[in-house]
């Protein structure tokens, strides 16, 4: 009897790429839920639009590049990129903002570099960085989570906001007072602005502002971060990500911020604030851990994450203009990955008793 032959393995584990990616999406759900609680439909519109744009652009690029469309669309990698970007930018972001961001993420950062697996930079962060640099105003318009002001905005109105700049009373240019009342700078922003005006942290966070700052790192935001932390731990438990990157990142960030905080608590924020403010948790568990653009060796991951933490702190405290530094830190370290990987190769079996 004749048989076909090939050199492929005759048995494999049934973990598939798509199920790994799906796990990442599941792990984002708690964070998303909390954000929806605070920001309402705006988060949903962000996610849906980003997903639709990402899948469409991915499909177009696959067709152009002559790649199997279905196999790659169902690997969920484009969806992850879309979600990470959608969750990083303000709720109720206008559709074009999302489109531009996703375009840079999927088309430029991913496909022009060779598609899945070949992109040296984290696509979502490329999209985010481009938006932050090009549209700084739109990128800081976070609605206030305190009064749940936007959580009460209905779906119809939300869509209007996103697609047509809002109805008469919700339009920024037509009703700037209301708009101003509802939007607010994020805690990181507030701190930074306050510090540049020579206020002490106590001054900045006192009085009226106390509401903004909640217990540790900003009302609402601390819960969002906590939810991401939960999702992140679940990913580690599922062995989708290893502990190296998130834990190192958090530990190093805590250490650096502790040193400065102990030195002068009026100028430097507490480590807890740094852990739970801004994009720390999302960055540590979901962004820096993107395997494609991160370092791949165990030691390399530690170096990679430690440097990111260092840069995050640097940008948050001394970087001019940008309140948070997760995106830039990750992108900077993405560049160093090939070097880190090469110099952190593990010792081969038997190499240490030569």
């Amino acid at each position: 009897m004749q048989f076909e032959t090939n050199t492929f393995p005759k048995t494999i584990d049934n973990s598939a790429l798509s199920s790994l990616m799906r796990d990442v999406l599941f792990a984002l759900v708690p964070g998303i839920a909390v954000m929806v609680w605070y920001f309402g439909w705006g988060i949903v519109t962000n996610l849906v639009l980003a997903t639709v744009f990402a899948l469409s652009l991915e499909a177009i690029m696959l067709v152009i590049r002559g790649r199997p469309v279905v196999a790659f669309l169902t690997d969920y990698s484009a969806v992850i990129t879309a979600w990470l970007l959608a969750l990083s930018i303000p709720a109720f972001a206008p559709w074009w903002l999302l489109l531009v961001g996703i375009f840079f993420a999927i088309v430029i950062a991913k496909h022009l570099y060779g598609g899945l697996g070949y992109n040296p930079f984290n696509p979502a962060m490329v999209g985010f960085a481009v938006l932050l640099v090009s549209f700084p105003v739109e990128m800081v318009n976070w609605f206030s989570p305190i009064s749940n002001s936007m959580a009460s905005v209905g779906l119809a109105e939300s869509l209007q906001l996103v697609f047509a700049g809002g109805s008469a009373d919700l339009n920024q240019s037509q009703n700037p007072v209301l708009w101003d009342a509802m939007t607010m700078a994020t805690p990181l922003d507030t701190i930074k602005t306050g510090l540049t005006m020579d206020k002490s942290i106590l001054d900045i966070t006192q009085g009226e502002a106390q509401k903004t700052f909640g217990r540790i790192a900003g009302a609402g935001w601390e819960w969002v971060s906590l939810a991401y932390l939960v999702g992140g731990f679940w990913l580690m438990y599922r062995k989708v990500i290893s502990w190296h990157i998130p834990i190192t990142l958090l530990v190093v960030l805590t250490s650096i911020s502790s040193i400065f905080w102990l030195y002068d608590p009026q100028t430097y924020n507490s480590p807890l604030f740094h852990l739970f403010a801004g994009g720390t948790m999302l960055g540590a568990f979901f962004i820096a851990t993107d395997p494609i653009s991160a370092s791949t060796t165990p030691l390399g991951k530690i170096v990679f994450a430690a440097c990111i933490a260092f840069f995050i702190y640097l940008i948050r405290v001394w970087g001019s203009g940008y309140p948070d530094g997760v995106a830039f830190s990750v992108l900077v370290m993405n560049m160093a990955v090939p070097l880190i990987d090469y110099y952190t190769r593990p010792q081969v079996f038997g190499a240490n008793n030569e």
Partner: protein, 584 residues
Amino acid sequence: MPDIPIYSIKGGVHPEFHKKESTALPIATSSLPERLVVPMRQHVGVAGLLMVKEGDYVYKGQPLTEQPKGLGSRVHAPTSGTVGAIDRFPVPHVSGYTCPSIIIEADGKDDWGEQHLTPIEDYQTTDNELLLQRINEAGIVGLGGAVFPSAVKISSSSRSEYHCNTLIINGAECEPYITCDDMLMREKADEIVAGMQIIIKMLKPEKCLIGIEDNKPEAIESMKKAVAAIQETARNGNFHNETNDTTVIKVIAVPTIYPSGDAKQLTKLLTGVEIPKQKRSYDMGSLCHNIATIHSVFTAVIKGEPLISRIVTVTGAGIQQPQNFHTLIGTSFKHLIDQAGGYTDKVERLIMGGPMMGYSMKTDEVPVVKATNCILALPKEDLPYSPDMAMPCIRCGKCMDVCPVDLLPQQLYWHAKAKEFDKIKGYNLDDCIECGCCSYVCPSKIPLVSYYRFAKSEIREENKKKKQIEVARQRFEFREFRKAREKEERDAKRAQHKAALQKKKAAAKKAGAGTDKGADDKQDAIKAALARAKKKKAEQKTAPRNTENLTPAQQAQVDEIDARQSQNATQNTDNKNSDPKEAS
């Protein structure tokens, strides 16, 4: 007896083991096929010279090839009959590879004639050299898959500067589906232990550790019993030897994890010693032999039978009635599969070996060889792989987590795919044991090992070519040099001749003139001496090597040595790569 701790290995995977299918029935003895195909080279090293010719009648156990001088082994007639064609026939190997083979048309008598080797019952008092010679002439090679000549392994160990203090008997059998060692341990434990005693006698190790994966409780039980029995005999003093009772023998259940059965990995599990990269295990004072190999040592020494049969597992969902068969070497796969009830309708692929490291076969018309531990027939459902399923590597690092030798499979893959072979060496491709753990876990379903095999063979080719070019260059230079020197010699001779002639003429002239002064002669002599010195100097300048005054015979010798060296070098790399599993 001191307790022996179990160490851990890095990485590894837990595939579905599928051992139950083929252990339901005891080992059966395969029926005698009409025709057997015995490949001349079934082992690491070279094949021996042919000892029979077409039409010869051979008895069972009669050697068919001589024991080769260098590394290699010999083969024997598995049954009595007539030698048919001697030609290249397909052997179980990837891509329908053929090998010079001897066909035996069986006469059905299965007659040993006078071909039994003298049984050495009293091996305890037999000289080690004799035992070694027996293992050698019986054609025993590692039956765990590496097929490395066992005698070479043992003698290297006894000659090594490090005394072999740990003898490891490999009964881990970590590959899914394969159960031949398991069944052998269940059914022939005393014979295995007797074979082990022979090796212990030869090497006098301090410890002898039998490592068996803990998913084979029956085998562990039966081996423990057999070991206890010999220890009992030794205690009762019926066992006359000075060494064996000082050797601690222990059966150890090792955790079930693939690839615990790799020699270096098992050594690590049992002794905690990581055998260094470029070394063999005997350099570290340990030696690892597979269960089936040990059993064949028993058969060769105690029964005087060369290695002409082995246990083969025939299994997989593509086989009607999976079972183990005691099979003569040279029996075709088809013959065995028929005895296992034939194929099921769903059969899709035929594999020699296990699903992790085995090779796809094109046809079942290939003979069982010494390396054939398992014939696996799988239906489509059990073959989750298809080439177009592969997605890009997302550098998730899962492959790295399971790699038992701590390589970076993702980086190896990256460079292998890009054909950056010089870069790949920096990532230690040489150390890859092709265990397949990385391919097994890869979520992108990339056939990683295929890429490594490809890269390895490319690198081997490249090295071969480089070496050939180097040899050719050296030869060319040498030839040019020889030509130049010959020309010089000729010129010199001619000059001498001329001088002689002139001298003669001059002498004649002088004679004619009638006046003779010795001064002229003297000056000539001085001139000639100067010229000689000059010439010598020049020669030294062009050829500082001391090969300048070779006779043609010597030159031929040099050429031959060069050629041999280059051949050896390529052969060595071949060997190194053909025994990934048990090469220690």
